[in-house]
């Protein structure tokens, strides 16, 4: 059979995109459309097999902009709605677009439980560390001390690190990218789509209006990113810096940034990234690395195999069907204790 080709344009809907000029969401939309085209081509599946679900917030306008089935739901509930869609029809490729407020505040419960169940969803978590659509209140990922409309004297709440939350909830896939890094985001999302189970890709996103440059100190431009982020690749040494002269080692308690090569440690001592390791300890530490003490980890941090919920549901149904004597409602109604009146 002839292989069908797909491009991002095939997945673009006819709806006018209404995000603010300069918003990071535009780049994320581009990355997602490219990733979908790549997945469609690799797996030879058509538009109609994709479903995009969102909650409420700027990012949750997403389904309108993708040419496939879409569900723009209510605040925080995208995780639960996606779980229902995927469980009802495991053949669909279910993608969820959600923000830090949507998934980590009002929808926090659904988020961690979808992770725990390992439903085969592909979650794009837009993290701009602010409530954009309600015009600038702090979110569960806003940096401590940040002045916002609802924290005029600075926040006094510790923020979540989404990766720590995902791994803490026994997540099987976590990746991180930056909105402007379209190829990296695309790569993470394709890996996420190929992962059987709940895949969370956090995208560090800039809100140009209410939280401009929140990620700039480590992810602002290419030069900054080279020095203050580390792009992890499975099987590769954890090296970073423009000249790859910095690395990460594990000292038995925590990760440590070291100088590599002349005057520093040997490259052999630098950790090699194993995204497939079941043990989550190093992944957890990597996901939690915070600027300025550490580089911010990008790329696929964790990608491990485990039974996923929707497949397990199907497996149980097949197993029970194979042995049960009840094959229709008439059988069911007559099962157990009955008596006849003549």
């Amino acid at each position: 059979m002839e292989q069908k080709k797909y491009t991002a344009a095939d997945f673009k809907s006819d709806q006018e995109v209404k995000w603010c000029p300069g918003c990071g969401d535009h780049a994320i939309l581009n990355s997602v459309l490219r990733a979908m085209a790549q997945v469609a081509e690799e797996k030879q599946i058509d538009h109609e097999k994709f479903t995009v679900v969102s909650g409420i917030g700027c990012s949750s306008r997403f389904p309108y902009y993708v040419r496939t089935y879409g569900f723009h739901s209510i605040h925080g509930r995208a995780g639960a709605i996606s779980t229902g869609i995927k469980t009802a029809n495991p053949k669909l490729s279910v993608w969820m677009a959600s923000g830090d407020g949507d998934s980590l505040a009002i929808g926090g419960n659904h988020f961690i439980h979808a992770v725990r169940r390992n439903v085969d969803l592909n979650v794009v978590l837009f993290n701009n560390e602010i409530y954009g659509l309600t015009k600038g209140q702090y979110s569960p990922t806003t940096k401590l001390g940040k002045i916002t409309k609802t924290s005029p004297f600075g926040t006094i709440e510790q923020p979540f690190k989404p990766g720590e939350l995902v791994i803490g909830a026994r997540g099987t896939f976590f990746a991180r990218s930056v909105d402007a890094e379209i190829p990296l985001t695309q790569k993470c999302l394709v890996a996420a789509a190929n992962h059987k189970g709940m895949a969370v890709t956090e995208v560090l996103q800039n809100c140009v209006i209410f939280n401009d440059k929140t990620h700039a100190p480590y992810a602002g431009d290419k030069a900054t990113r080279a020095e203050h982020t580390i792009t992890l690749e499975h099987g590769q040494k954890m090296l970073f810096g423009a000249n790859k002269d910095k690395g990460l080692i594990f000292n038995g308690i925590e990760l440590e940034v070291v100088k590599v090569g002349e005057g520093g440690v040997s490259v052999d001592e630098v950790l090699t990234h194993d995204a497939h390791a079941q043990n989550p300890v190093i992944h957890f530490l990597l996901a939690g690395m915070k600027y300025p003490d550490y580089p911010v980890a990008l790329g696929v941090i964790r990608d491990v195999e485990a039974p996923n919920y929707d497949s397990e549901v199907e497996r149980q149904i097949e197993e029970v069907k194979a042995t049960s004597k009840i094959t229709c409602v008439d059988d069911l109604l007559r099962s157990g204790s009955t008596w006849e009146v003549k």
Partner: protein, 614 residues
């Protein structure tokens, strides 16, 4: 068999004891034996919300009432002819349910000084203190005789004590001349795999109780209740929650849409989820969600994906589901929400019955947000109304709230098993294709105002739905004022249109008279009994009982016009009465209300009706 056998038309027995005494099993075995012997039966369990409340206290008393008779039984009975009380607390808790000539069976061994004190008696003689001296009391050493019966069984003391309920059951079997075989068969098969010796022990104790009662002439006479004349067919016992679960599976089969239930455990609705979880053999998918909101949201997702989706809950859970229910209204997806009502507000009385969620079901959402509301009215008709709820939801593309309550959900009755070929096919407006070059428009409607159901995965029908108002023609987001007004009107018209496809309102009795009794949902058995008794006395009373609440069936106004007085009876403070006043402003609606966590009694209803007839 005892020579002095008196024949009775119907009997009510209440089994009561500590919540660990096995009274639910005892009651179930008695009612099964009666049902199998051909009696009409109706049962109701009455248990505390604590799993094991402090032993020996009134709070820890668990009860099971069975009403059996020579005709179809439609209520578990108000007051009991026989009370089995396994300890002083059980006697104290149930004394209010005794008829003046009741037989009381007590375990003498349990009436120790300590137990009497624990039950809160002021004196050391509970019988005198409760003024029961004139009742027919039998008080054998049940625990002691159980122990004697099981000598040689090599069982530990705890296992022996667990069998004492079977001794009481044996006494009741003798008193009411019940056949023993069914119970023996049940016990044998129940313990066949786990421990056949336990079955033998239980059977020995049942026989022990039976023989003890026979040999010691415990009762001046015994009783018999003849079998009822029932329509031929295969019968089974069924409770309301099980019937609800099975009704959904039937609707799934008849529609060809796979059944999905997203739900969170909550008393008294949990059994529906449990029953559905068992049915993987019929392809039923259940998600035990992380909370009530996820319960309904997973169901909404499944409905979008093409399943017949349901979510089950009780009042507090319905509150939590409100916002998502609005989403289902806005996206016009088929969905059934079951609310098995309990005493409220808040946590209220989790194990007790009430009908106080009606207003919440009708109105409890933001915006103009109409849904179809139905109510089941007996344990077995839960099957039919669950089926109807599914049929309406799928054919009209609307959420439906199905109201049940703790009374009918836990109560059980014999049910003549229907055949699925007698149920109608369900035909949802599924869209599978579109003409080349055309775009699917999700809010194009059929003659019933139902939109098309296009499922993800179908080629060419890609579309977006959501909570934002949509343009009725294109399906795009719209803030246009005229469009919003029109979509609001259409959503309401779609629900109102359901009145065309449901049966016209029925009346039990004449369509003209002095008093029209109105009820809805789970009070049907009590209202019908009270009305029929008054009709037999020649009173011009009729019953108009509602299962379809929104929209109301056709013909209601004509019925209301035929009576001098109308009384609306419900287990709340008048929510349905208010709804009727809003719909039929020309009539005066009297009310009879009860909010005690208990069903009506036929006695109190008759008193009220007689006073209104004066």
């Amino acid at each position: 068999m005892n020579q002095n056998v008196k024949e009775l038309s119907d009997v009510v027995i209440r089994f009561s004891g500590d919540s660990g005494d096995g009274m639910q099993l005892t009651g179930t075995l008695f009612s099964d034996a009666s049902a199998l012997a051909g009696n009409g039966i109706s049962t109701f369990p009455d248990y505390p919300s604590e799993i094991r409340a402090p032993q020996g206290t009134v709070a820890g008393v668990s009860g099971f009432q069975v009403h059996f008779g020579n005709r179809k039984m439609i209520t578990p009975g108000d007051y009991c002819d026989a009370l089995v009380a396994m300890n002083p607390a059980a006697l104290k808790a149930n004394v209010k349910w005794l008829k003046p000539d009741s037989t009381i069976i007590l375990d003498a061994d349990a009436f120790t000084e300590k137990n009497i004190e624990k039950a809160g008696f002021k004196t050391d003689n509970p019988i005198e203190e409760l003024k029961l001296s004139d009742y027919n009391i039998v008080m054998p050493d049940i625990t002691g005789m159980t122990r004697q019966t099981l000598e040689g069984f090599e069982m530990d003391a705890k296992s022996v004590a667990k069998c004492k309920n079977m001794f009481a059951l044996g006494i009741c079997f003798y008193l009411y001349n019940r056949p023993l075989e069914y119970t023996f068969e049940y016990l044998t098969s129940k313990f066949a795999k786990k421990n056949p010796k336990i079955a033998e022990a239980n059977i020995a104790v049942v026989k022990g109780g039976y023989n003890y009662a026979a040999n010691n002439h415990l009762f001046a006479n015994t009783f018999d209740v003849k079998s009822s004349t029932q329509e031929p067919g295969i019968y089974r016992n069924i409770n309301g929650n099980q019937a609800t679960a099975w009704g959904f599976i039937a609707a799934s089969e008849k529609s060809g849409r796979p059944l999905f239930c997203g739900s969170y455990p909550i008393t008294p609705a949990t059994v529906i989820l449990e029953e559905l979880a068992k049915r993987k053999d019929l392809g039923v998918k259940t998600v035990q969600a992380e909370d009530e909101i996820a319960g309904i949201c997973t169901a909404i997702g499944a409905a979008f994906a093409g399943s017949f989706a349901v979510t089950t809950t009780s009042g507090p859970g319905l509150s939590l589901k409100s916002e998502a229910l609005g989403l289902a209204v806005m996206t016009e997806l088929p969905l059934v929400v079951v609310d098995v009502q309990r005493g409220g507000p808040s946590t209220g009385l989790p194990t007790k019955t009430e009908q106080s969620d009606l207003a919440q079901a009708l109105y409890g959402r933001n915006g103009e947000c109409p849904v179809v509301v139905l109510a089941s009215s007996s344990p077995s008709d839960c099957f039919d109304y669950a089926f109807q709820a599914g049929k309406i939801a799928m054919e009209h593309m609307t959420p439906v709230i199905l109201l049940s309550d703790g009374f009918i959900a836990n109560g059980s009755q014999p049910w003549r098993i229907p055949s699925m070929k007698d149920y109608p096919t369900i035909t949802p407006p599924i869209v599978t294709e579109i003409a080349e070059g055309e775009q699917f428009r999700p809010y194009v409607r059929n003659e019933q105002f139902a939109r098309g159901w296009a499922m993800p995965g179908t080629k060419g029908l890609e579309h977006r739905i959501g909570g934002l108002e949509k343009d009725g023609r294109t399906g795009s987001v719209s803030h246009d004022p005229d469009n919003h007004a029109e979509m609001t009107r259409l959503r309401a018209a779609k629900v109102a249109k359901v009145a065309d496809s449901i049966p016209a309102q029925e009346v039990l009795g004449e369509r003209e008279g002095d008093l029209l009794v109105i009820g809805w949902g789970g009070t049907r058995g009590h209202l019908q009994s009270a009305v029929e008794e008054l009709q037999a006395e020649g009173k011009k009373v009729s019953l108009c009982h509602f299962n379809y609440i929104n929209p109301l069936p056709k013909g209601v106004e004509e019925i209301l016009g035929g009576f001098k007085k109308i009384v609306v009876c419900e287990l709340n403070c008048g929510q349905f009465a208010d709804y009727l006043r809003q719909n039929f402003q020309q009539y005066t609606f009297e009310q009879y209300n009860k909010v005690m966590g208990l069903p009506f009694t036929i006695r109190e209803l008759k008193e009220k009706f007689v006073s209104l007839l004066k």
